[in-house]
Amino acid sequence: MSRRLLLRAAVSVASLWSAACASPAHRVHHTLLDSPERPLPTAVILLRPGIVAGEVADDGTFEEREDWTLASSENVEKALRNGIERRGAFRIVEMPEISPEEGDLLEEHLALFDLLAGAAFEYPGDEMDAADARAWRHRVDRFDASVGEGLSFLADRTGADAALVTLGSCFLPSGRWKTTVLVSALLGEALPTGTTRLTLGVVDLRTGDLLWIDRAVEFGALFFDPVSDLREAEDAEDRVDGLLEDYPGLEAYAAKRSRR
């Protein structure tokens, strides 16, 4: 996965820096719920997770550490394989060899996925006032995001129905940033110590439909509530399992749709 896409994941988190901790809330493509019911995918390509990890630097900006990124990505991928196998949700299909041009095409689709998934969780989102959230409610009731049909070559190549996309970031506080947070707290300003975000999505390879997406966003506070450290296998597993528990979550989502 390219640096640009990894950085996008981090910047997406940056845009949420001042937000309160958001609870996981999955989205399900409306065609999986409407009659006649669309079947769930049975064979899914596990795309390499796009995780970026590093430190919250002294000035509050994010600074990537490549060794952390590598360790976090490996832990998340392992957690995904274990979690999917344990649940038997679908058969994992390995990513085939692709050309550089196909790699670029995949990157473009993943970047669009990130944009669409981010918008899905923000419109409507936890930060909206009640009236705005109500106005956007139809996007939950009839979620129809799609990246288009450009990934069908992967279905042709492998026979898979869908791809599992994983994007995320994990930024932990540097020592001096902790001091800044402490001083700010004494002055009455609450700053997060760190942040971890993980987004999963199952994308139909023929239509590009985002069949299912889920996201977890954590913000750390001083002295308590540390964020998940994806460099730690146990933390990565907990975070991934928490999201996979919502898959496919059709009944829960149908109930969410019907609550107005």
Binding site: E63, H109, Y123
Partner: protein
């Protein structure tokens, strides 16, 4: 080790202010002050904007963004600090619009794919089709159309990701351009 900074482009500059959302249920919509009207797609979302502007999106401003504004002609290009010159042709106004948009995107370059005269409703105006990549390399297509009439400059601006979304959603822009009508002011204002 890469340092990651928060950046903003013209296309997203309005995001923090967007609120007061409502669902478009009637395709015939107008600016709050009545300075113009056009047909918008039912099911899109409208944000509360200024008196002489209409702000629309389908899935959220980060995905597709459509804004229509009536600006005082002498303040038509605020980033350039210029207005519409007297007796300017549509081609000249298009050139100023491109410069204004480029200034808003700076340092991101705007590639102009197409520019030329175009009807905007019943008026003679211009159409510009551009493309740029955001700070992280995602390609967006941008359409701008407009015209000047008396002391007003009317501008329609639409942008969406090049991949899949732009082609799917540009009908909203095309329909708005085709149905655009400025308010007829008996006093010639």
């Amino acid at each position: 080790m890469g340092r990651i900074a928060r950046t903003a482009s013209i296309a997203l500059a309005c995001l923090p202010a967007c609120a007061g959302w409502s669902l478009v249920e009637d395709p015939a919509i107008a600016a709050p002050d009545g300075s113009f009207g056009f047909e918008a797609p039912v099911g899109w979302m409208r944000a509360r904007g200024g008196d002489a502007e209409v702000l629309l999106t389908r899935e959220g401003p980060p995905v597709q963004w459509f804004e229509v504004r009536a600006l005082p002609a002498d303040e038509a290009f605020p980033l350039l600090g210029e207005g519409v010159p007297l007796d300017a042709t549509p081609a000249e106004i298009a050139a100023l619009t491109i410069t204004e948009l480029s200034a808003g995107l700076d340092p991101i370059p705007l590639a102009v794919l197409e520019r030329g005269p175009a009807a905007v409703g019943a008026d003679e105006g211009f159409l510009v089709h551009g493309r740029y990549a955001d700070e992280l390399g995602v390609s967006f297509d941008l359409l701008a159309a407009g015209f000047a009439r008396r002391n007003r400059f009317y501008r329609l601006l639409f942008r969406a990701p090049t991949l899949h979304i732009f082609d799917r959603d540009r009908f909203a822009f095309d329909r708005a351009v085709a149905t655009f009508r400025p308010r007829e002011d008996p006093e010639g204002q």
